[in-house]
């Protein structure tokens, strides 16, 4: 019960901090002081205090977009174990639900974008649809590999199962998974080299251009849901890459939080040292991620 409360508390409170850490890391690389760590919280609070403007050409779909996205991401957050602790909700086959909750959220984001009738947002939806199709197989290969390693179809046993012992036995498979899932993590969360969440250039955007017409609290929800998605997918990735566990619950929570912050720093470094990919090259990298994940599946199935 205590663990579930901590789990929900972290999922509610911590996600924007990751964005703050990424921003601070990038600032450090550029030789700037940068915005405070808590800036993403201030931004969300500021937006919550504003009014919303709705175009008269939009329907309920436009208003439902942010809410469905937040709801699906929040449920996914309850399915994924944080660190060594099992998730609050867990059942056989929840990994399929986990994968398609994101798909549902994305569907509504794209539908809301198309609802505006703006060519910008249609352009963004087309890009999002293309690249998410290409990112999905990687996630599924990863789930197959993990379920093979753990003998379970539920996320909690699958992910908590990974330890340094598993790394010793199936190191090659896990290493390829880490590579493939890191690429998907960046792509799904619209980070450089796939997308640039900080750019002001509409023509280059993928995610941001789909939410151009949202304002006020709706935009705050979108920002928060995006941070939560990074957090949830990040927690998945941290299980693979940094499977620390001590057996002491308090210590394990601390380790999980530190691992998540480390991940944010790594993302910040990646964003500092490389430019964005040319948009037509993104499929190449996503296919590479799929191949990595497919090979890891091959290694554990043989």
């Amino acid at each position: 019960m205590t663990n579930s409360i901590i789990h929900i508390f972290l999922a509610l409170v911590m996600p924007p901090l990751l964005l703050g850490v990424i921003g601070k890391t990038k600032a450090a690389f550029a030789g700037r002081v940068g915005a405070p760590f808590l800036q993403p919280y201030y931004d969300i609070l500021r937006l919550l205090h504003k009014g919303s403007v709705f175009s008269t050409t939009t329907t309920w779909i436009f208003r439902a977009g942010p809410i469905v996205t937040l709801a699906t991401t929040a449920v996914a957050a309850l399915l994924i174990p944080f660190g060594a602790h099992p998730s609050p909700i867990s059942f056989q086959g929840d990994m399929i639900l986990y994968a398609y909750l994101f798909a549902l959220g994305r569907f509504f984001t794209m539908a809301a974008a198309l609802d505006t009738g703006s060519s910008f947002e249609g352009m963004g939806s087309a890009r999002e649809a293309t690249y998410s199709c290409l990112a999905e197989p990687t996630l599924f290969f990863a789930l197959i590999t993990l379920s093979r390693l753990s003998g379970s179809y539920s996320l909690s046993p699958m992910l908590v199962n990974i330890s340094f012992g598993v790394w010793l036995n199936s190191g090659a498979a896990l290493l390829m998974l880490v590579g493939g899932m890191f690429i998907v993590l960046l792509a799904e969360n619209c980070r450089i080299p796939f997308d640039d969440p900080t750019t002001h250039l509409e023509l280059t955007m993928i995610h941001e251009v789909m939410v151009l017409d949202h304002s006020g609290p709706a935009l705050a929800i979108i920002h928060y849901a995006a941070a939560l998605k990074l957090y949830v997918l990040g927690a998945f990735f941290v299980h693979l890459a940094l499977p620390y566990a001590t057996g002491n619950p308090a210590l394990d929570w601390g380790l999980f939080i530190i691992s998540m912050l480390e991940l944010a720093v790594v993302i910040g470094i990646v964003e500092s040292v490389m430019a964005r990919l040319r948009l037509i090259r993104i499929p190449q990298l996503l296919v590479a991620a799929t191949i990595l994940a497919a090979f890891s599946t091959l290694l554990v199935i043989r």
Binding site: M123, S272, L279
Partner: protein, 529 residues
Amino acid sequence: MSATVNSLRDIILSHFGSSAVLCSGTYPPCIPQILVPREQFEDVGWLMKDAGARLAAEWGVDETLLGRQFAVLACFAREGEYILLRCNIPLEDPTFPSLSKKHTPAFRFERQIMSLMGLTPTGHSHSDLRPWIKHEDWPADAWPLRKSFDAAQRMPRVAGEYRWVRAEGEGVYEIPVGPVHAGIIEPGHFRFQAMGEDILNLEERLGYTHKGIEKRFEQLSWVEGARLAGRVSGDSTVAHALTYCRALETLSGTNIAPRAAWLRAIMLERERIANHLGDIGAIANDVGFAFFQFQFMRLKEHLLRGNQQLFGHRYLMDRVVPGGISADLQADGAAAIELELANLQTEFEHLVTIYDLNASLDDRLRSTGLLTAETARELGTVGYVARASGQGLDCRIQAPFSPYDQIQPRMVVLNSCDVHARAWVRIEEIRDSIRLLRGLLATLPHGEILIPLADVPPDSSSLAAVEGWRGEIVYWLQSGLQGEINRCAIRDPSSVNWLALEQAVHNNIVPDFPVCNKSFNQSYSGNDL
């Protein structure tokens, strides 16, 4: 190639015989103005094309206060050689033969002449007589550059529609961008027709910053004009003020002091370095490499603060004035610049190494936004846009004035024609400008910096061209009967280079447009006037 190349002037005079007349009262003497009958105007344009000259500028002039009627002037250039072609136009039939069949840049020059001066080009290659710079919410017969137009009046708003180029078909969609953009930049409208991510066509629509600058000049004194010229395009304030002052000093026969000439060159090169630094950072930022943006912004900021300290203005506005300059370099200034340049050079070279080694940056910038050498020549592009597409054009070298005739700037020409080339030309030019600054400081003469302007003769004209950081800037000044400003025609490099951007984005993908645009970085204000 024949060993002896005839001058453009000789070509025209020998070809047209007595119907071509050399005008008097035009300065400098090396830039002749030739009057031809209206019906032969286009023929001379063809002749100039065959002689390898480009159309640098074309503008109309209302000479009713000089006891004449209208005239259209075309400025042709071949390397460092300039020539003005003129045809007179009667009031009752305000039309002139279009040059656009042979000279592509004429396409927009003539739309502008028609919109603002009310002279109609005939035989226009695309029959494109849509307004340019002046938008359709002004009455079609309001021609602000005519003397009869009262600049103080409020114009009534009228309804009108601009006919866009259209593309239709399965899967073709249109993206209207601007005129107000997300970044802190000037306004301009870009309309894309795209299919998936591929750009089928881009059409620019400018004029949103039209301020009536050319008209305003006619109400100012010559000295006040320099201040206005310095505000045509804020990032090129030195280059514009300098071009204006050079045209004015040529017209009045004022010889400025050597120290002033040297310090003007120092300011011009400082402006070049500062803007090129900012541009390289901005290009990298548009492909998501923010690290460069901040680093280059920092270097630029150091330089701007140096300007403030040395000359009392960050952008050196109003430092170039008719007759010389308004702020002298103090005794310890040279040492301060030397120190500043040493620091700049070290840090700059460090960043260039990073640029060179970063594969992801390389992948984005190379082969993006190709402007072929042929198109660059055809469109009469100037500045780094031309030099990155294999065109050896630089007024500092080809039409030098003191002190550029003594310090030999290096011509940086690249042939890869892409965004990378446009960035790399800037890198090489920064290196060269640092070298030039050192040379200028070493030979800086002593003496006065400002001499009084001599009187401007009535009914005379002069032309000056200066290589600003963006490229060749052209000013043509004409005095009235009392020696006042009758006409000040301005050709910012942007007026021709904007055309090239439309061509460079063909076959590119939509998300690469911003970086293509940033690699051109043309001025809206300088184009809209």
